[in-house]
């Protein structure tokens, strides 16, 4: 099982590979793109991209010298038909400098790359929301060699796909940057924070209504409000425990390290660390954290021991006990994190 890590500058290649990443993914905004299309939307993120082709070449060269692969994100949810040729050209250019795979969500672009750049591997982005065997077969039929599963799948669902389709590489999230909505069905942009930020943490003031109209009865309303408090706490975890890091520098927030033994046993090819837009230090600490867990799995440690180690890595098992910091909460072991939910203060 390999660790797939995000980069946004050539300088990040070496420390991330040295930390344990064998696969790197990045985005690039070619200099002529904005002039041609009056948008910087080459991929899902406006920020966190390499500066241009020269940087992309440096990344590929450095990574290959360290025996790591490089993937290019062309993963906008959708592209206009006017973009397809230009994106296919980017894919061809990336392949010509030795790039290994494109990460793509849009089915038209997948088809175009498969037809025109056949030696560039295609990884189906998590943005494509492919989370069943038949859907994976559909994308394989278009030419994909890897499926990056979306967030919010269970380990059992992952295992069903790897078992049924052993010829496909499967990549699953393991750390950082939890979305609230599914990426492939969230048709919004992350606005600048002064305009609201991501819609899932924007300042909407909602009131409950009963299906028949009017407010819910008082008892129901109390339950709904208690559920809202739990949800607010879950959101805090979903967004990196208030966008913070542990005292030892490891990132808080969505984590699937406890599930890595099960994913390894299921034949998952790669585990994905999210966060192209993050700081270099956060990326490096993220890879270090996951790599420590992977090394123990590869050394043959028992699942329980690995989980115990993973839970102890940040020195705050109470957060793990909450159940809200997990990508795969169903594998959360009460024997490891404790039967009683930890009381963790969540700032308002």
């Amino acid at each position: 099982m390999k660790i797939t890590a995000p980069i946004s500058t050539p300088a990040e290649v070496e420390p991330l590979v040295r930390a344990g990443a064998r696969e790197l993914y990045c985005g690039v905004v070619p200099p002529d793109w904005i002039q041609r299309f009056n948008t910087s939307g080459v991929n899902r993120r406006v920020f966190g991209n390499l500066n241009g082709y020269a940087d992309l070449e440096r990344v590929v060269e450095k990574a290959h010298a360290l025996d790591a692969d490089v993937f290019l994100v062309l993963n906008a949810q959708q592209y206009g038909e006017q973009h397809l040729d230009a994106l296919t050209e980017i894919g061809a250019r990336f392949r010509s400098i030795g790039g290994n795979a494109a990460i793509v969500a849009d089915i038209s672009l997948i088809a175009s790359l498969a037809a025109n750049v056949p030696d560039l591997a295609i990884h189906v982005s998590s943005v494509a929301t492919c989370r069943n065997v038949e859907s994976a077969r559909f994308f394989a039929g278009l030419g994909a060699s890897r499926i990056i599963l979306p967030r919010d799948v269970t380990v059992a669902e992952i295992s069903a796909i790897t078992t049924e389709l052993p010829e496909l590489e499967i990549e699953a999230f393991v750390l950082n940057d939890g979305c609230v909505f599914e990426e492939g069905t969230c048709h919004t942009v992350h606005l600048p924070m002064n305009k609201g930020g991501p819609i899932c943490i924007d300042n909407y003031q909602f009131e409950y209504q009963s299906a028949g109209g009017g407010q819910p009865h008082e008892r129901a309303l109390r339950r709904l409000e208690q559920n809202d408090l739990d949800y607010k706490r879950w959101l805090w975890y979903r967004f990196g425990n208030g966008f913070s890091v542990a005292p030892n520098g490891y990132p808080w927030g969505p984590c699937g390290t406890c599930a890595m033994p099960a994913m390894h046993a299921a034949g998952v090819h790669s585990v994905k660390i999210a966060g192209r837009e993050g700081a270099s230090e956060r990326k490096i600490k993220s890879v270090e954290l996951v790599a420590q867990v992977l090394r123990r799995i590869e050394a043959g440690e028992s699942e329980e021991k690995v989980r115990e180690f993973a839970v102890g890595l940040r020195g705050a098992p109470g957060h793990c006990a909450s159940g809200y910091m997990c990508y795969y909460p169903e594998v959360r072991s009460r024997a490891v994190v404790g039967e009683v939910e930890a009381k963790v203060e969540v700032p308002a």
């Binding site: 397809l84 069943n132 038949e134 559909f138 669902e157 609230v180 919004t188 606005l191 909602f206 909460p329």
Partner: protein, 300 residues
């Protein structure tokens, strides 16, 4: 609040427009069952106050009736409800359609059972490429329609201007998209009408286009706040658990303070915007010009 008795109308489009109603809560079939035939007002009445946000041509009368959810695997109707809806559609002389969501593997067997109840020629609104393969391979007598989760476009009601909306244009006219849909036997698109949408935004698409009105969806998750209501605290907000369908009992409505944006709501795992008057007019213009050939009325 009083429900108006009439809805703004426009001149009839070049051809007859199709009019559908999409029902998510199978329990509400009972209320429909009392009708010997359905009229446009029966459909519009289901929308409550939101009927004011729809403009229909004068001659629009029901042609289709849909049951099921695009957004949640827990809301697949029972086979008993499907049988009942199919029987009602036969009585009303309407085409029945089953609406299906993005699926996990565990949904495929219930889906097979549901699809097996549909008479030939029924529509299946598909929102998952795997489900599209299933229908094509095992249910070739059914007519698949690409649902609005497959017709990707920017629909953020908070965008400050139309310029922002152009950042990620839709790919509905792309050649490969058309070929892939053709290859799956999909012959129709169902779409939302987005904020900042223009009347002609669906002109020239190679498929007949239906538009959901008066609500469009903004975002949908697999994690469901309301669906976690009955779960123990550490188990909440995770996939793969059972659901008591609380979203059929409650929704949330509101806005961002200090804004005059589209009316927004959330039901279960999905956020919606409601069409403003200008959007309803634009959809009506698209219908009048033949760019949209079907309106599917649905709630939020």
């Amino acid at each position: 609040m009083t429900i108006p008795q009439s809805t703004p109308t426009l001149p009839a489009p070049p051809g007859p427009i199709e009019l559908g109603f999409a029902l998510v809560d199978e329990r509400e079939l009972a209320a429909f069952a009392r009708h010997d035939r359905l009229t446009r007002d029966d459909y519009l009445d289901q929308l409550g106050d939101a009927r004011d946000c729809v403009s229909l041509p004068e001659n629009a009368e029901p042609t289709h009736f849909f049951l099921g959810s695009e957004f949640c695997e827990h809301l697949l109707p029972s086979v008993e409800s499907i049988d009942r809806a199919v029987a009602l559609c036969e009585r009303w002389g309407l085409t029945f359609g089953l609406v299906t969501p993005i699926a996990c593997d565990g949904l495929f067997e219930p889906l097979r059972a549901a699809l097996a109840r549909l008479p030939a020629g029924s529509e299946v609104t598909i929102n998952d490429w795997g489900v599209a393969r299933l229908v094509q391979r095992e249910f070739p007598d059914l007519r698949p329609v690409a649902g609005r989760l497959l017709g990707k476009m920017l629909k953020d009601p908070r965008l400050p201007s139309a310029t922002w909306a152009r950042m990620y244009p839709n790919g509905l006219r792309a050649g490969p998209f058309r070929e892939i849909l053709d290859g799956l036997g999909i012959g129709r698109l169902e779409l939302d009408f987005p904020p900042f949408g223009a009347a002609d935004m669906y002109a020239g698409i190679d498929f007949p286009v239906g538009v959901r009105a008066p609500y469009g969806y903004i975002a949908k998750g697999r994690i469901c706040k309301l669906g976690s209501l009955s779960l123990d605290t550490p188990e909440k907000f995770s996939p793969g658990h059972k659901c008591r369908r609380e979203c059929l009992g409650f929704s949330e409505v509101g806005a961002r303070p200090g804004t005059h944006e589209l009316h927004t709501s959330q039901r279960g795992n999905t956020m919606y915007y409601r069409h403003a008057a200008g959007m309803a007019t634009a959809v009506a213009e698209a219908v009048a010009n033949g760019w949209v050939s079907r309106i599917v009325l649905s709630g939020a």
